[in-house]
Amino acid sequence: MAELAPAQEPVVQTTLFHAPRSLARIISNRNVLLITAVCALAILVAIIVAGIVATPAAQETDFARRDLAPSLAHPFGCDWLGRDMFLRTLAGLSLSIRIGLLAAVVSALIALVLGTIAALGSKVADGIVTWLIDLMMGVPHLVLLILISYALGKGFWGVTVGIALTHWASLTRVVRAEVLQCRQSPYIAVAGKLGASRLRIAAKHIVPFVFPQFLVGFILLFPHAILHEAAITFLGFGLPPELPALGNILSESMTYRSTGMWWLAVFPGLSLIATVLLFDLAGGALRKIVDARTNQE
């Protein structure tokens, strides 16, 4: 417990009562966090591009390699039509991320608009937005997705619009809270007193304050969006069966569940988990950078 101080000090003895954990210091290093986030996002972009490139090859059937188990040439094996599962998975992931991107952008915009209206508008507007959030959360997500998808006649637009329309609630709460906190802070009042216009205050103070949290929230929408897209496609309400979507791949593998072709389900599923975790990683790292509290953690 007691440590001897360096020799040059006249004071001989100091008790160390508490010291920060050294591990926490390394992990919270901003550079490490930034590199983590950038790497994760780069891998995801690479998956998108590779998936687009691989899509034609993924749809190639070759009965010579029917039902092949995983090997070096075909790491994820091949299905009953002789399609390479690795390429199909890649194409499916790419498709999922792109749909997630489209849906997340729309969801985030809805969240931004509604959250800002709730925070800056009248009490009534706030009440309406809060009520809408409650309404949105009142039906289980998946049931709502099925309903919306059904209402739009299923297919690509069914699932995309469905996901875009169901994922804004949580982010709206965050935006509302952020803008509200910012609006109530003293420097906004001071800027107002100094004669800055409302637009200028919004552009100069509120947007820079809210944007980082918003960005983090946006990235962390993806895991939800992708998982829901896969689920809804799996159930048959999402992307049409001819597209190499992950939901379709896994749904097809259900048919073969008792044939022992385990690779049809295992590898695509693991890849999906890895993709979702990559988004989590990127979002988590960015959040730590953004969050002022972590300066000292």
Binding site: V11, V12, T15, F17, A24, N31, Q296
Partner: protein
Amino acid sequence: MTDLQDIRSSSARVMQAHDAKDVHGAHDAHDHHHHRHASNPVHTHGHHLLQVEDLSVGFRMYDPAEPFFAAKQELVNVIDHLSIAVHEREIVALVGPSGAGKSLLADAIMACYEPNVQVEGRIWFDGELQDAKSLAALAGGAIAMVPQSVASLNPLVKVGRQVQGGLSHSTYRTRDTHGARQPGKRKKHEKQGKREEHARLAQRQQELFARYGLAPSVADLYPHELSGGMARRVLLCCALIGNPRLIVADEPTPGLDEAAALRVLEDFRAFADGGGGVLLITHDIELALRVADRIAVFHDKTIVEETSVASFASPEHLQHPFSRALWHALPEHGFSAAGE
């Protein structure tokens, strides 16, 4: 190593020595325990209950001056080589501006550390050199804390139960050692011990409530139902339930009107007169001057002067410019800026 020996035993020797010094009115700036008693020494009685030496409290943080991603983490001290002592029967007021880090001293003494804090220095209690573990063992027993506000009470638990505090680990353990050795009987014994302990604490709580003018029914209230003055007395009872020898009070008066604040301070005075020591941490120097025996002036991360209240009678008795500035800022001296 002889030096080390020296420090271990110093406080004991110092106790005898410093009475003599005070009587002779000696003002040695290099006094071993870093404080002066000015012209009219008040602590001719008692010995060092608490002595803190060279305490530094720092946080790891990024250098804000550097660009965001280039910034390196470094240790920034909020308290820098601070020394202070509290004697028995004495109230020492640590005075300084709000938000300067005074509360961190209380945290250090109470062995309550944030995860990212670095705390080092030397702390003696009752002549014994302490480390983090032994301080933690003293917390809630011989050293008790009176927090700033009712926010330190759990809003969902009745006040009476909170004052009793439940059974802490340490009381448990002492029970254990008294308990039966046979493993079969132990559980029963433990249970009985617990029940006795609960009864004892409940009785003590009732006594304390009676002493501080709190109706017995207050025990059944929730914290949000207490008035400001009642809340402070409840917090004081929380501290007194463990029969402490030293009370550390962190800003115990804000939000109270003057009469109520004075009543709180009178309670501390009574505690000190009963043989205890009080470390009063406050930003309100006027109030501190009315109740404390000595004032420690906190400025620029450390205590720049530790002196008798009487020294504040006139600026000549004050050594540090900041103390003199404080003196000049007192209302009866016309709020004038520091006259150097």
